[in-house]
Structures are given as C-alpha cells and as structure tokens.
C-alpha cells in the first residue's frame, strides 16, 4: 500500500469558528480529491467529543481516538481505510470528557499521532467548531491553518474571532481562507476581500485565498447519502472547485 512508505506529511488543520459551515464536508471531499491525485491522506476527526467524519462517510466505527487516550490502545488500530490512499482516524461522539483533553492527554495524542503520520503525504484535521482547547491545540500542532467561513455575519465574526485568538495567543500568522456556500464567484471574492481588509487593519495579517465553494444541492444530497459529493456528483460545481482546491494545496 502506498501509505506504508515513510513520508514527511503536510499537516493541515481545518477550522471555522462557527459550526455548520461545511468543515466536515469540505475535509472529506478534499481528502478524497487528494487521494485521487495519488497522495496518501489521513483525515483525523478532530471533533473529539462530537465526531461526524464517520457519519458523513457512512462508516461503522469500532475504535476511536478515545481508546488511545483512555486505554493506551495503538492509534493505528483505529484507522479506517476508505481507499488504498485515504484513511480516516475517527473520534467518539457524545463524550464530553474528550472535548477537553488535559495537557498530559494532548501530549499522549501527539506522540501517538507522530507514530502513524509519516505514512502519509497529507494529514487533514477536521476540528470542532468554536475556540475550545482542542481546536486551538490542533491548530497550533499543524503546519497550515485553513479557516472556513460563509458570507453570513455570524460565520464571519466567528472565523475572525478564531483567527484573532490563534494569532494573539498562539502567534499563528498564515491563514488560508475557504469561503463556502457562495452564490457567485464575485460574492466569494468580496467576502475574502472584506475579511482580508479587516485582518490586515486590526491584526496586521494577510490571509491567503484557498477558494470559494459555490452553493450546490449536491453537497447536502451527498451528506444525506453519506458519500463524498466528489464521488456522487463528480461533474458538479462543488466537485470542480474541490478539485481546484486540492490542486492548490498540492502546489503550495
């Protein structure tokens, strides 16, 4: 299997501030796109207390990150293979304790992850919404931070707040913005331009544009079918943009 070769993976954290903006759908589909392009991808469900990568992919999960934290179980045994180049590390759902890992537990998770990630080219982390400890920790552990937002004022504010916390308290400076659910290409450009202007003015940060995902009924349809829209509707607008985003990630 390709994923057995030792690699130096690129660790990418996908966060949003606000919930329900499409983090998991984006993560699952961009991971699928990267694997289709020959890259070995690990998708970690970073929403440790309310996981749903497994739901979006229709997986029957037997073991999760929780067993590693609580029982010291080998993390590799929890991996679920989606295709030969795409594996998922699922998390637990409905376990409040997992949403607030202690520093010792974070250190244990870090060392366990470091043992498995060198099999992959890309490690994507789909975090929880909000600015909780685990969200901030995953973001600081990663090499690249993607922030997903929609044109809604609530999403803009929460995405900005997340970036502000990561910048002010954790010295993160490079953020890639992915604007989701845009009605037109221009709306995506306007939202990015506005967010970019506010970040530059108040935080002295220049964000990078990763893409603008168009509103597409195939996205919600795919979630209900528990299958990536990239596979269910490969010619859809959303799929074409996801492929473009995957190309940009590879080019970075």
């Amino acid at each position: 299997m390709t994923a057995k070769t030792k690699r130096s993976p690129k660790i990418i954290c996908i966060s949003s501030g606000k919930g329900g903006v499409g983090k998991t759908s984006f993560s699952v589909n961009v991971a699928t796109a990267l694997s289709q392009k020959g890259k070995a991808v690990l998708l970690i469900d970073g929403d440790l207390g309310l996981a749903n990568v497994d739901v979006v992919l229709g997986l029957n999960v037997r073991h999760t990150i929780r067993e590693t934290i609580e029982e010291g179980r080998d993390l590799a045994s929890s991996l679920v293979e989606i295709n030969p180049r795409f594996q998922v590390l699922p998390a637990s759902s409905g376990v409040p304790e997992m949403a607030n890992l202690s520093y010792e537990e974070q250190a244990l998770l870090t060392s366990s992850l470091e043992e498995i990630i060198d099999r992959f080219d890309y490690v994507l982390i789909d975090t929880a919404a909000g600015i909780g400890d685990s969200v901030l920790w995953f973001n600081t552990w990663s090499q690249m931070n993607i922030v997903i937002l929609t044109p809604d004022p609530t999403s803009l504010t929460d995405a900005y707040a997340l970036i502000k916390v990561l910048h002010t308290r954790h010295d993160r400076k490079r953020f890639h913005l992915l604007i989701n659910s845009v009605q037109s290409k221009k709306e995506g450009q306007d939202v990015f331009a506005n967010m970019s202007m506010v970040l530059q003015r108040f935080l002295k940060i220049t964000p990078l544009a990763l893409g603008a995902m168009p509103q597409d009924k195939n996205v919600s349809l795919a979630i209900r079918r528990q299958k990536p829209f990239l596979l269910g509707a490969p010619e859809s607008k959303a799929s074409l943009e996801i492929i473009a985003v995957a190309d940009r990630l590879i080019a970075l």
Partner: protein, 257 residues
C-alpha cells in the same frame, strides 16, 4: 505529599530546582495524581519542546485522587505569607514549563464562627479532592486559596465544582443551625503568553471571588488573566467592518441580478 506543609520530598525537589536554576537545564517536576511528587526531570535546555513533550507523554501515571490526610491535628494550614511566596514561584514556573496555572479562592460566609475557625475544617473537607501538586493555604479570615499548577480554565472550573460539592456536603456545615452558609469561589487562570505579576494575578482572582460572593448561591466566577491589550474579544469596530461590506455586496448583487 501532605497539603499543609511541603513534604521532605517536595522540599528536596525545590532545593534541586533552585540549584539547577543557574545551569542550562530545565527542571520539570513530574507530578502524577498520586500522593507524592513522582520525580524531577532535569533536561538539557537545548532539547526541543516536541522531544520534551514526547518524553513526558511516555511517562503516564495512574489517575488517583490524593489520600485524605488533611486536617490532622499535628499539621497547620499554611498562612497567606506562604501562599504568596508559592504563588510567585508557580508564576515563574508557568513561564518555564509553558503550562497554565489556576488560582482558586474560596470563602464561606453566614457562619457563626470566629476568624480562622472555619478554614481548617474546610481544608479537611477538601482533602480527598486534592491532587498532587496542588498548593492549599489559608486565605483571609475564613477562606482558602488553592493553586492548581497545570490547570487551564476548563479544568479549574470542573475542579472548583467538585470542591464546592465536597464543601456543601461537609459534616461541619451540616451540624450548623440558623443562617444558611454561603460559599463563594473565584478563579483566575494565567498562561505562559501572559506576563503578569503574582499580585495582579491574585487581584484578578479576588475580583472574581467578590463577584461570586455578590451573586450568592455558592457561585463560581472565573476569568483568564489576559491583559486588556491581549484580549481576543472581537471589538465593536471589528464587527462593524466585518458585517458591513458583505451585506452591501449581497444587496448590490441581488439588485444587479
């Protein structure tokens, strides 16, 4: 380790830490959740954070609560002067270890007791809930101060709730008659990215304690010790900038359509 006075082991570790301070090493105290400090790791300070974190992660200790050895007659609860010294030491350690530190202040009012008469029974009631590394001392007339090294806001809040439950069900409160006692718990938390003096940190916890006392109902109030200039709150100006442009753009786009 006994809560009321540092144990011999703790004093030995402190002495070793002081001796190590002038040298190019980091001293990391290994405190599991057992009854005693488990060791002191002296490590070359050129070793990367990641390697240290990885080494520490391999050293996991069983999750145990501390045995209830508190409140024994031969021990005395450390006073405020001791507490202030320890607070200063722990604040320095936050910078060194990059781990947060929480300070919890607890007071009890509405009890017909003389100054200092309640601190000892309160400390005894809390004993089973204390973790190794916790530093408990007297505070004001009938209060306690608990320094919780390594605790961030979430953990400090959970532990405060646990301690509040222990106090509410304590025998010495059940035996009383008359006015119902009121607990107040105030928490302040500091992180390595905040450089604040111990006095300011204590003042923040006191402010939260005062807020909790005012709220009544055994309230717990908390805040992180971020300076105003470090605050991450999204300001009115930032919100205005964030919201205005997309709305206008959306309307313009709609009109154009």
């Amino acid at each position: 380790m006994n809560r009321k006075a540092p144990s011999d082991t703790a004093l030995l570790y402190r002495s070793l830490e002081e001796q190590a301070a002038p040298h190019p090493v980091r001293a990391i105290r290994l405190t599991g959740k057992g009854a005693e400090p488990l060791g002191l790791l002296l490590i070359d300070n050129t070793v990367s954070e990641a390697e240290v974190a990885s080494a520490l992660a391999a050293l996991r200790f069983p999750d145990q609560t501390r045995p209830a050895t508190l409140g024994q007659a031969e021990e005395k609860l450390p006073d405020q002067a001791w507490f202030r010294r320890q607070l200063a030491v722990e604040m320095d350690r936050v910078q060194q270890s990059k781990l947060p530190c929480a300070l919890l202040l607890i007071t009890l009012s509405g009890q017909d007791a003389g100054p200092g008469a309640l601190a000892e029974p309160m400390a005894a009631a809390l004993a089973p809930c204390l973790h190794s590394g916790d530093l408990l001392s007297g505070f004001q007339k009938n209060g306690l101060a608990l320094i919780m090294p390594g605790a961030a806001v979430g953990k400090a809040r959970r532990r405060a709730e646990e301690l509040r439950t222990a106090l509410r069900t304590a025998a010495f409160l059940k035996d009383t008659t008359g006015v119902a006692p009121n607990l107040a718990l105030g928490i302040a938390v500091c992180h390595a990215y905040e450089t604040i003096p111990a006095d300011r940190f204590l003042a923040l916890a006191e402010a939260e304690l005062a807020r909790a006392a005012k709220m009544g109902n055994d309230a717990i109030c908390q805040r992180a010790a971020a300076n105003v200039e470090d605050s991450c709150q999204v300001t009115v100006e930032e919100r205005a900038q964030l919201w205005m442009q997309p709305r206008k753009t959306s309307r313009t786009a709609e009109m154009a359509a």
